[in-house]
């Protein structure tokens, strides 16, 4: 295992410490239970937005805590959902009278831990709503699975709902907005390499030099299918087809195209991917009016990419353009 770490057991707390030292103006970090919150918490006169999940997906979610995005983020152990204690502590630390929205990625663990936390919070009369993000079209048959995973749409939902929360939307309307974003977004990813969970010390799976995994999530798990390595353009076709045909997106739709790196993929490759994804979207008659290119939701040092398409409307576009100031996303401030 080749990583810039110390004791594998300390990866999460040391990385949190690094974030704390790097962004004192934007965030505060609490330990035991671990969570990241806005420096100006608790939220005044706005709904608090809280998300969380396993660590290893940086900058998600801690990097999205800030003005116009999340109020708090709960990082679990690497690839392990946070505990209800963390979620409870984070929520009570940042939520004001207007309550809190939990943005939860659809993984059994995340859903259950957020559910337990929400029960605890409701017992304390803290108004809390949850929206589960499940945008991953790689998981095809949802009656026979834990349902589609939450991936790239989470980043977009956090940005857009963060802007709406800043605008003063009440809890119920934020929940509906978040659901709408989720219903209008689809994603799919692929991996060139596995990744190594620090305390495990060896790659989660082996992938020969000439093969790739199609339809991976963000936890180093194998994908739906292993196939021969292909050229970038072919890979993008394999990702875009199921995305576009799923909603389905249709000619004339305005969309946001998000090309994400999984952690070990350099930007030069993401631009090559973006080029082809944009071409395919245009070929399908979609108008790409907004975009995001970079490694925003990762799977440790996995090499690979994931593409997300979000159908926009004037409302979502305006929210996307609203100011945001978080460690990993900045605009207008």
């Amino acid at each position: 295992m080749k990583k810039l770490i110390n004791d594998p057991e300390n990866v999460v707390t040391e990385a949190l410490k690094g974030m704390e030292l790097a962004y004192p103006d934007l965030i505060k970090v609490q330990y035991n239970p671990n969570f990241v919150m806005r420096a100006d918490a608790p939220a005044k006169d706005k709904v608090a937005l809280i998300s969380g999940g396993g660590s290893g997906h940086e900058p998600m979610h801690g990097g999205f805590v800030g003005i116009g995005m999340l109020d708090a983020a709960c990082p679990g152990a690497v690839f392990t959902s946070p505990t209800p204690d963390q979620i409870h502590a984070a929520t009570t630390a940042v939520a004001g009278a207007k309550g809190a929205l939990h943005i939860v990625k659809n993984y059994s663990g995340d859903v259950m831990n957020f559910e337990l936390a929400a029960e605890m919070l409701r017992a304390e009369k803290i108004p809390v709503e949850s929206v589960v993000i499940d945008d991953d079209v790689a998981v095809q048959d949802s009656t026979w699975t834990a349902g589609r995973r939450g991936v790239g749409a989470t980043v977009l939902a956090e940005k857009l709902c963060g802007a709406a929360a800043e605008d003063g939307h009440p809890l119920g309307s934020l929940r509906e907005l978040c659901k709408r974003i989720n219903s209008q977004a689809r994603s799919m990813g692929m991996a060139l390499t596995s990744c190594t969970v620090p305390h495990v010390g060896k790659p989660t799976f082996d992938l020969p030099e000439d093969e790739m995994e199609l339809g991976v999530g963000i936890h180093g798990e194998p994908g739906r299918k292993r196939t021969k390595l292909a050229a970038a353009d072919e890979i993008v076709e394999l990702l875009m087809e199921p995305i576009i045909s799923d909603i389905p997106f249709k000619s004339g739709d305005e969309v946001l195209l998000f090309v994400n790196g999984l952690g070990g993929t350099p930007l030069i490759e993401l631009f090559i991917i973006y080029r082809k994804a944009a071409e395919i979207a245009q070929r399908a008659g979609l108008k790409i009016t907004r975009n995001l290119v970079g490694s925003y939701i990762t799977s440790l040092e996995m090499a690979g990419t994931a593409i997300t398409l979000l159908k926009l409307d004037d409302d979502l576009t305006r929210l996307w353009d609203s100011p945001v100031l978080a460690p990993a996303l900045r605009k207008g401030i």
């Binding site: 152990a77 505990t83 993984y107 059994s108 831990n113 337990l116 969970v197 798990e221 739906r224």
Partner: protein, 211 residues
């Protein structure tokens, strides 16, 4: 023996800490195959936190022991297994409230409501390739048969759990992370079923030791 004392329950929970540390890599390897390679660490992190909690626990009734175990797992583990095993012990603690011994029948009742809690939370059914697949036959086997001893029944339950965990190998996962793999989950043992088998094995070993 036809009942079980709080001391044995405590010894069991403490023994689990050792057992899950011992089997950490094995569980992680199983999870690496069809999940995200953290089940060993999750179980070890959760159960090794328990002895310290028990050391300072005042009320050592079985209900209190189970509740402490539950709260520790829920607050330490995360993942899918944290809330599931936490719920198992939280529900199991209710019928054991204030009790310092449990009859064979009462123990079965505790575990049965524990399992119901897990099913209600996780919504898995038998055959979905989850811990349910190991716990369900194990708890069925635990029920007294021909007035045998509790020790024999637990040994029987442990065997049933182990065999049931092995029997998850040919199944297609339909809950949890492994379900994302679809048909590719076939051929691998479910890590949660394996940890459930260890949990029951730990009780069998504890009873044997203290016998």
């Amino acid at each position: 023996m036809s009942s079980i004392s709080a001391a044995i329950i405590e010894a069991w929970l403490r023994h689990c800490a050792d057992l899950f540390v011992q089997h950490k890599d094995e569980l992680t390897d199983l999870d690496a195959k069809i999940g995200d390679a953290d089940h060993g660490a999750n179980m070890a992190r959760g159960f090794t936190a328990i002895p310290g909690k028990l050391d300072v626990l005042v009320d050592k009734s079985i209900g209190s022991l189970f509740r402490t175990c539950a709260m520790t797992l829920i607050s330490q583990v995360g993942g899918a297994s944290g809330p599931l095993y936490g719920t198992f012990f939280l529900q199991a603690s209710r019928p054991a409230d204030g009790k310092t011994t449990l009859s064979h029948q009462e123990l079965c009742q505790c575990f049965d409501v524990g399992l119901t809690g897990v099913v209600n939370l996780g919504k898995a059914v038998l055959g979905d390739k989850t811990m349910i697949d190991a716990l369900t036959p194990a708890l069925a086997a635990l029920h007294p048969k021909n007035a045998d001893s509790l020790e024999d029944a637990v040994a029987r339950a442990a065997t049933a759990a182990r065999e049931a965990a092995d029997a998850t190998i040919p199944l297609v996962a339909r809950k949890g992370r492994a379900s994302y793999l679809g048909g590719r989950s076939v051929g691998h043992k479910d890590p949660g079923a394996a940890s459930s088998a260890l949990l029951i094995a730990a009780l069998a070993e504890t009873l044997k030791r203290t016998a």
